[in-house]
Symmetry: C2
Subunit: 478 residues, 2 copies
């Protein structure tokens, strides 16, 4: 390693080729590797450690709210998939089918789950009998498979990792509240922990999940102005219950259909982190999910006392932060570039001059601010600077989104923006899917969401001029 | 719930029907449910919580030893599976084949991983170049699918959950040491955390993993005297490296083949916990992995001050233990039976008389010992009693194993033991697979392992009378 990697390999500048810049980071930061399996990724240790940190935080939040983890089967019999008509229409074209078990042809095809509503419904039908069995607030962490034609690391892969929450409730109101509550959990997680500002809203009819009454979404803006749908939450009404024959005895002894929700958050968010915070030096990780939060780099480490002091600081910080010490024989310059590329939020430099002054130098990854810091009280200073990193990342991303969001009042204006300025376009809509389709066709923009925070920026639909119903965010999307 | 379950449903006594007793516990303790998918289980919240506790402890141990988690694909192209001849022979007959993606027939069949050696080798071939890249100590938590004909909850299911470690090393010695180290991790985990004594040893040639040079195993004895293979660790030599073309540049610049290992531990251990510690009242859980370690049951909870005191104790214990408080309107008797059935290691009863004496009563699940305990210092008393539970469970299981292990010197004797007394049989073996096969045929016993702790109990093979090479444990197995 030492000799092979004397220079940290250069990353293609974002301005020159955004897609290549993205791929370079994925590869050089060793987040994932290609495999011999079409469209499937091998998530490498550094990439998986980010996902594990995401899992830990989200899982704790789910459990605090009363959710329980379970594990449903990987496979769905075709007859089960077919029970809900909209659902099967949406997913059947993109599933992988198991047709043989060993050397025998199966009597019925099984698909690898593309999502697990059907399996949870089958389970609910077995275990839900009375209103006393409700609600059930279930979640599972797993992978799913969707036979995508074109794939990109993290953003779109045949197999991806996620959590899928599935809940079942006595009343529509309760299920509706759960749907919104979980969207808020995702939004809060993205904004607080990942430093990614998001727009919360509802999907239009044509963009909603197959089988849902309503789909809620959080939409984030990437460096290139494109949208990333970062988490979704679905309200099913009692449609799935009816399709799967899930019933319960109500408080008045009548037979009732329960109301359901589902909500999911996936490894595509790692693509979102890269494209929200990364720069031309590489990855930039929000401290909450960074596998290494602080890297300790000794300077002039052959000088007496330097390594000892560096180890001492590493030990001091270890209990409270994820710390890595690099005392390899690479040059400090190489190490600086290497851990910048890996997106480590904070670098701690310690050399003879620092030791003489009883200080070290903290360097923040996003703005490279160099901060001489007294060793006395170092732990609190590190905590403070990690928080600063988070704030800088959030503020930057929010400013970018604000700078790259435009209001449009006519279709011509929309098209002009779409052609010349990347970003989101806000425009009023009459609610007619025909207008939505025309905007897509003419301006190349899809509806991202109908934001919860509505504004009235015009009286008429941007497309047809009829009375407008609501404000919509439009954009190009990953 | 309240009205429906006035009585905790009875569990079939172990003596009457062991298999039914097992199934009753799985079902009534709500560990898993059957599904509409052949041979696949739905692991319910209580069962999954046990697995999560197992995962947490093992994962921390793996990481302490330098292992990193990754995620390889779920699917294996047929051509990749076929690269190692013994391996494909062992697994191809029991895999599920994906032949269609959406509506299109795939150009090459893909199987759902039955284990992932082939995928790790494919990855290693891409990322290992120099001795400096070694070792790689990887692990993944996932599910695998084996198309088993007959299935039993946890013990044998088409899909099951596990971790599979895969490591690759510069030298045979290092890989060999890793194989033994990980077997020891499993053994230590079983004995210390699960209170399950195990025999550590090597599998015979005919029982080893498809493609391995050597397979090590830990074997535990169940209530009924049958063996459960509870964890295995495989040494591959450089066989997989050669088959998959994994090479590295050695220290002397020559092209070398690295040495590999793999090791796995699965949800079948939950079946092992049930059949090692359970009794006719239900499940008995070792405290380290019990979802609820202490259940607080208020007695005469309508009396003033009882619920307040119970809640106060719950709060006190919460920071240190997994505690559940049941202040539902069920009777204390129902609650006692219910949490015994669920295997909660410790029950804390608190009623007016206890409060008057500034005490509570702790009841240990395995021996039902009732221990009046001063509230002052309660936390330490609970910790002490949880440890007692662990010791009682371990000692009981060990005594049972010792009582049910027999030495045999002739095949007749072996057959007589096998026909009349359930348990393990220790007997000397010449090393010839023909004798192993004959013992299986005549006495119905398979070789469980060649224990690391050898004893010389006779000079000649129990079967053929030729000079004996080693002591072997024989038994019937799950």
């Amino acid at each position: 390693m030492a000799e092979q990697k004397k220079l940290v390999e250069a990353i293609t500048p974002m301005e020159r080729d955004f897609a290549q810049w993205y791929t370079d980071i994925v590869k050089k930061a060793e987040l994932m590797a290609y495999t011999g399996v079409r469209g499937c990724m091998a998530v490498e240790p550094y990439g998986w450690a980010i996902w594990e940190n995401i899992q830990k935080i989200l899982d704790a939040r789910f459990k605090e709210l009363g959710h329980q983890n379970v594990a449903m089967p990987l496979l769905i019999p075709e007859s089960l998939l077919e029970k809900e008509k909209d659902h099967v229409k949406g997913f059947a074209p993109e599933v992988a089918w198991v047709t043989m078990g060993g050397n025998e042809k199966l009597p019925e095809r099984l698909c690898i789950r593309p999502t697990s509503e059907t399996l949870f419904c089958d389970h609910f039908a077995r275990v839900v009998h009375s209103y006393r069995d409700l609600p059930k607030l279930y979640n599972q962490w797993c992978s799913v498979v969707r036979w995508e034609k074109t794939t990109r690391p993290f953003l779109r892969t045949a197999e991806f990792f996620w959590q899928e929450g599935h809940t079942i409730h006595e009343t529509a109101q309760e299920a509706q509240a759960e749907t919104e509550r979980m969207l808020n959990v995702y939004a809060d997680f993205c904004e607080r922990e990942l430093a990614m500002p998001v727009i919360k809203g509802r999907k239009t009819e044509s963009e909603k999940f197959a089988g849902a009454v309503a789909t809620y979404t959080i939409e984030a803006m990437m460096h290139d102005g494109k949208a990333l749908q970062s988490g979704t939450s679905h309200y099913f009404g009692d449609g799935f219950s009816r399709a799967f024959g899930v019933t319960f005895q109500g408080r008045d002894n009548s037979v009732c259909y329960p109301f359901q929700t589902s909500w999911g958050f996936s490894t595509r968010i790692i693509g979102g982190i890269i494209m929200t915070h990364g720069d031309d030096s590489g990855l930039v990780l929000p401290p909450a999910v960074a596998p290494v939060q602080v890297v300790v780099v000794p300077v002039a480490q052959h000088k007496p006392g330097v390594l000892e002091k560096a180890h001492e600081l590493e030990q001091r910080l270890k209990g409270r932060f994820r710390v890595k010490m690099d005392d390899s024989d690479q040059t400090p310059g190489w190490k600086f570039a290497q851990y910048e590329m890996k997106g480590v939020p904070l670098r701690l430099e310690i050399g003879p001059k620092d030791i003489a002054k009883d200080q070290c130098v903290l360097v923040r990854r996003p703005d490279r601010a160099k901060l001489p810091t007294p060793l006395d009280g170092l732990e609190d200073a590190v905590a403070e600077q990690l928080d600063q990193v988070r704030r800088i990342l959030y503020d930057r991303a929010l400013k970018r989104r604000e700078d790259m969001t435009y209001d449009a009042h006519t279709l011509d204006e929309m098209k002009e923006i779409a052609d010349t300025r990347p970003g989101f376009v806000r425009a009023m809509w009459c609610g007619d899917p025909a207008c939505e389709a025309k905007i897509k066709e003419v301006a190349g923009l899809s509806s991202r969401c109908i934001p919860f925070e509505q504004e009235h920026i015009a009286d008429t639909c941007v497309c047809c001029g009829r009375p407008a119903k609501e404000l919509v965010y439009w954009g190009k999307a990953y």
